[in-house]
Symmetry: C2
Subunit: 240 residues, 2 copies
Amino acid sequence: MLALYHFGPVANSITPLLCLIEKGLDFENRILDSRKWEHHDPEFRRYSPEGTVPVLLHDDRVVRESSVINEYLDDVFAEVSLRPADPWQRAEMRVLTKYVDEYFCPALTVLGAHRATPFASKIDKVEMAERLANMPTEEGRRKWEIVSNTGYSEEALAEATRKLANVVAKLEQKMADGRPWLIGGAYSLADIKWYSMMLGLPCLLPELCNVEATPFSVAWLERMAGRPAVEALDQYARRD
Amino acid sequence: MLALYHFGPVANSITPLLCLIEKGLDFENRILDSRKWEHHDPEFRRYSPEGTVPVLLHDDRVVRESSVINEYLDDVFAEVSLRPADPWQRAEMRVLTKYVDEYFCPALTVLGAHRATPFASKIDKVEMAERLANMPTEEGRRKWEIVSNTGYSEEALAEATRKLANVVAKLEQKMADGRPWLIGGAYSLADIKWYSMMLGLPCLLPELCNVEATPFSVAWLERMAGRPAVEALDQYARRD
C-alpha cells in the first residue's frame, strides 16, 4: 500500500506526486487542507510530528521530506529509474536538489507565505492566538505570526527576491548549452524538484522569468508542462 | 586518482574525510588555509566557483557538497558500504543528514563564525574591504562583514543557541532507546555527518551537551571517538 499526504499540486507536494505518477505507481491520494490546518491534526502528526507535508506511507513505513521520499521511491521501485546511472551525474542531481531545498525553497516560502496574509489576517484573533500557541515548531509559529499580522517587511521580501534572481540565473546558465533536462540528456529527480518550485515563478516574478530574459528556462518549463505526468497533476488536486 | 580539498578535520571537512578513511581509500590530502583565504584563490575556484569547501576530485570529475560527496563515494566504492541496505533505513539516514545541512550547520556556523571575530577584526581594513568586495557570494560577504566588524548580535547568537538546543534534544531522543548508532545497529553516513558538527559541541555549549543532561549523546560521541577512522583524523590536519 502506498499513500501520499499532500497539499495538492503545489510546491513541495508536487515533488513526490510527480515521481509517483512518472513511475506509474498506484497510491491513495490523501489531500490535506492547509487552510483548515489539517496538517496540524493529531491524526496526521502521528506521521509527521512537526506537521510537515508531504508524507509517504508505504505499508507500515512512514517516509518524510519530499527529496528523500523521491530517492526512496527510486530505491524501492527501480523499474522506471529517475536517477542517472552514472554516479557523477547522480551527484550533480543531488547538488541541484539540495540547492532547491536549502536556497530556493526558503526564499520562495517567504513570498508564498506573504501572499497568504489577506487570508490569514482575517482569521479570528482568538483562534489565531490559539493556533500560534500550539504550533508544532517555533519556526512555524514565527512565520504565522508575521503572516497573520502585517505580512513580511519590504526588506524581507526584497531579500527573498534577490535570492530568487540568483536561482533563476542559475537555472538559465545550466540550460544555456541547449540540454533538454537539468542533468544533460536524462530527465531526473532534479527536474522534478526544480519544477515543483519553478512552476509558479513566471507569474510570481514575471520581470525575472520570461521568454526574453530567460529563454532556456522558459523552454524547459514548457518541456516539463508537456510531460503526461505533469498534465496529470490536476487530477490530484481534488479529494477522491 | 582521488584528492580532497578541505580545511582540516573541522566541521563539513570532516564529513568526506571520515568517509574516505572508513572506506580505506587512498587520496591526496589537499588542505586549504582558510585564514589565508586559499579557498578564494582562482586555482581552487575552478573547482568550486563559490569557494565552498570541501571538494572531491575523482580523476577528471569534481564533486561538491560534503553530503553529496559521501553518497558519491558510497555509490562508486561500494565494497565498504556506509549506507543501510534497507531503503527505509536509507531514507531515515537521508532525513537525518538533511537536517544537519539545513538546520544544525547554519546555526553552528553563526557561533563558529562569531568566534573568528578576534582574528577577523584584526585584518588590515583596506585588505578586508577588498576581500569583502570580491567575495564569491553575497551571503559570504554579509557574514564576513559582520565577523570582521563587531561579530554577531546577542540576538543572533541567542537564536543560534536556541536552534542548537533543539539539535541536541533531537540527538538525545534518537539515541535514548540505547541504539549504538543513529540508524539503529548500523554505523552510517548519518553518524559521520552528525559527528562532523557535534564534535565540538560539548566544549562550545557545555550547558547543553554534557554527561548529566545528554548521557546518550555523550556516549555516542565517545563511541565515535573510539573508531579508528576518527582517531586517524589528526593525520589530515597537516599538509603532506
